[in-house]
């Protein structure tokens, strides 16, 4: 075994780039002709969009397009699940229908020539909602029982894992320990906000994306758009912290690509710090319970 590298104090190979400001993060690639996108997000947590008015936004200076569920191109949303995706449920089909499933859900996308124009025009989109009951307390949520073992994507998953005879062990236990935990929602808030630059060349898409897993982004976006995965190239040499938030392709990646498709030019979409609270969920509120059987000795 060599000790030339292992155990030696080695400086980071990208150190020079990082201390000189030459490490390039997702929003920093100089893509010619880029336009800027800003997302309009729902202010209710559950319900339907009753009306959405983008006329003022469309007329604002520099605006190239405003997409809502009314006029956004239909996306294929072929089934795709990566190892990090939850077993049950379906990803958000962004701008494809009038449903609102969480507060801060994208309900419109504004594309404009400059960052300032896009951000301002986004404030001009008006929506009204038919609000429905929102459950935000895990104690009141319907649990997903092992019996519900068919996902929305039609996959069948094993309902539970078993080994040995836990019921018998508990019945014979001298001591039983029951534990339950609720872990509140976590927001990783890396110092670099998520961002994507999308550029189409015919049916080929290049994404400069803040991601920890370029292949997952390529597979997911290919499935969303109904194009072969080899048509999607994802570039992410430097990530400004992610801590797990960059493992999945969040809706803003789709929106950047959608915006670029509609605008006919590359689109840069950067999330604001405020948006980082609702644009992606890295650790949802979760509860877990365990029961264990012990001898009096603790074994």
């Amino acid at each position: 075994m060599t000790t030339a590298v292992i155990g030696q104090p080695i400086s980071r190979v990208d150190g020079r780039q990082k201390v000189t400001g030459r490490a390039t993060y997702a929003a920093e690639f100089d893509v010619p002709g880029v336009a800027y996108a800003a997302i309009v997000r729902s202010t209710v947590a559950n319900g339907r969009i009753a009306s959405i008015d983008s006329v003022l936004a469309e007329r604002a200076s520099g605006v190239l397009a405003v997409l809502t569920h009314r006029n956004a191109p239909r996306l294929a949303y072929r089934s795709h699940k990566a190892l990090v995706d939850p077993e049950f449920g379906e990803r958000l089909h962004v701008l494809q229908d009038d449903r609102v499933s969480h507060q801060g859900q994208p309900i419109a996308l504004v594309i404009a020539a400059t960052l300032e124009q896009a951000q301002y025009a986004a404030t001009l989109v008006r929506a009204t909602y038919g609000m429905e009951q929102a459950v935000t307390d895990i104690a009141r949520a319907e649990p997903v029982r092992p019996g519900h073992n068919q996902t929305d994507q039609g996959e069948r998953r094993p309902s539970e894992g078993r080994r040995g005879d836990p019921e018998a062990a508990l019945a014979a236990a001298e001591v039983k320990v029951y534990q339950s935990y609720v872990i509140p929602r976590e927001n990783h808030n890396p110092i670099e906000m998520h961002a994507t630059i999308a550029a189409w060349d015919g049916d080929r898409l290049t994404l400069w994306d803040k991601t920890q897993w370029v292949h997952n982004v390529a597979d997911e976006i290919a499935a969303v758009f109904g194009i072969p995965p080899e048509n999607v190239r994802v570039i992410s040499p430097f990530v400004g912290g992610a801590f797990g938030s960059g493992l999945r392709a969040w809706p803003h990646v789709t929106l950047a690509a959608l915006g670029a498709r509609v605008a006919g030019r590359p689109v840069k979409l950067m999330l604001s710090r405020r948006e980082m609270s609702t644009a992606l969920v890295t650790g949802p509120t979760r509860s877990s319970a365990s029961r264990s059987a012990h001898r009096a000795t603790g074994a």
Binding site: T43, S61, E116, Q119, Y120, T123, R274
Partner: protein, 332 residues
């Protein structure tokens, strides 16, 4: 940000004339100096002027000590004032208040005048997603009353607004009976800083007595032997770079071990910087005995009203007074 034009007038008279055309607070034309609060508010769409008039280079930034006291040009930066030898030696509470504010970068940009005009940190005020905020939208209600109000005021509140004034500097200056020189196109006037910030009452959107077109030109702090023995105590969750939960500015005129006259103001607890004359009166002639201090400090709680999450401030501010007086008293 909403669209705006930027004017960079060459002299103060031109700037004053531009601003005078507009009405009171949050009008289409606003001044910008250091911009450290204004730009945040613009980014979050809380302020939506159509025109910004830059005061850069137009106002006095000198810091001068004379026989009558301290005169600080409104354009002096927080950093320069905090580091000025005369301020550090003779008015340490001002230096301490400034050094406990914000971050080094912001202190390099932010002006003394702008600091006194900064807006509340109430999260409902700063987030336009909340439609009920009487300060931002008169008549729309107050989200903090009945909402999350840990950060909010317990003194000087009304049923329309409970937002705390966030300036540390203002607390120190109010304790020292500072005054302001205010200029307008029509002339100049002086006023006490304690009269400058308004209680919310029925009009929380009107925060100061500045008339349209007026600008703070200078801050004066009267010479006061007590100012040398002064201290700013800031209580907060983080050790740095956070606004006050509770703060106290104290200056003591002492004779031996006895307090001849105390000057005390509170921050983090009032809708404006809160002078506590009853506490001061109770301390006149008192020693630094903790029990005596505690008894005097209790008078600060008169009229205090907790709103649910900030009730602890009523006890905490009394303790802050005691600790700040002890710290000031220990100064040589």
């Amino acid at each position: 940000m909403h669209p705006f034009a930027v004017e960079r007038p060459r002299d103060l008279d031109a700037a004053l004339a531009l601003r005078a055309q507009a009405g009171r607070n949050d009008t289409p034309t606003e001044y910008i100096a250091g911009g450290t609060d204004m730009v945040q508010l613009l980014q979050e769409h809380v302020r939506r002027p159509e025109r910004l008039v830059s005061l850069a280079g137009l106002l006095d930034n000198r810091i001068e000590l004379g026989p009558l006291g301290l005169r600080i040009g409104a354009a002096a930066t927080m950093a320069d004032v905090a580091a000025h030898p005369a301020v550090v030696e003779q008015f340490p509470v001002i230096s301490e208040a400034l050094l406990n504010s914000a971050s080094p970068q912001v202190r390099n940009q932010a002006t003394m005048g702008g600091n006194l005009l900064q807006r509340t940190r109430c999260p409902y005020f700063r987030d336009i997603g909340y439609s009920a905020c009487n300060k931002r939208v008169p008549g729309s209600g107050c989200s903090a009353i009945g909402g999350e109000n840990r950060w909010h005021a317990v003194l000087g509140t009304s049923d329309n607004c409970i937002a705390a004034n966030p300036s540390d500097l203002a607390v120190a200056l109010v304790a020292l009976d500072a005054a302001l020189e205010v200029r307008s196109a029509g002339g100049q006037r002086s006023l006490s800083l304690i009269d400058f910030h308004r209680l919310p009452g029925d009009t929380p959107h009107i925060e100061t007595v500045l008339e349209a077109g007026e600008v703070i030109a200078a801050i004066t702090v009267p010479a006061n032997p007590a100012a040398r023995r002064s201290h700013y105590l800031k209580v907060r969750g983080r050790a740095s770079f956070e606004f006050a939960i509770v703060s106290a500015a104290v200056a003591l005129d002492m004779e031996g071990a006895r307090i001849r006259q105390a000057y005390i103001a509170l921050g983090g607890v009032g809708t404006k910087p809160w002078r506590v004359p009853k506490v001061e009166a109770a301390l006149a002639g008192a020693s630094l005995d903790p029990a005596a201090l505690r008894q005097a400090a209790a008078l600060a709680a008169e009229g205090a009203q907790g709103r649910g999450h900030n009730n602890f401030k009523i006890e905490l501010m009394q303790r802050a007074i005691v600790r700040a007086v002890e710290n000031a008293g220990a100064r040589a």
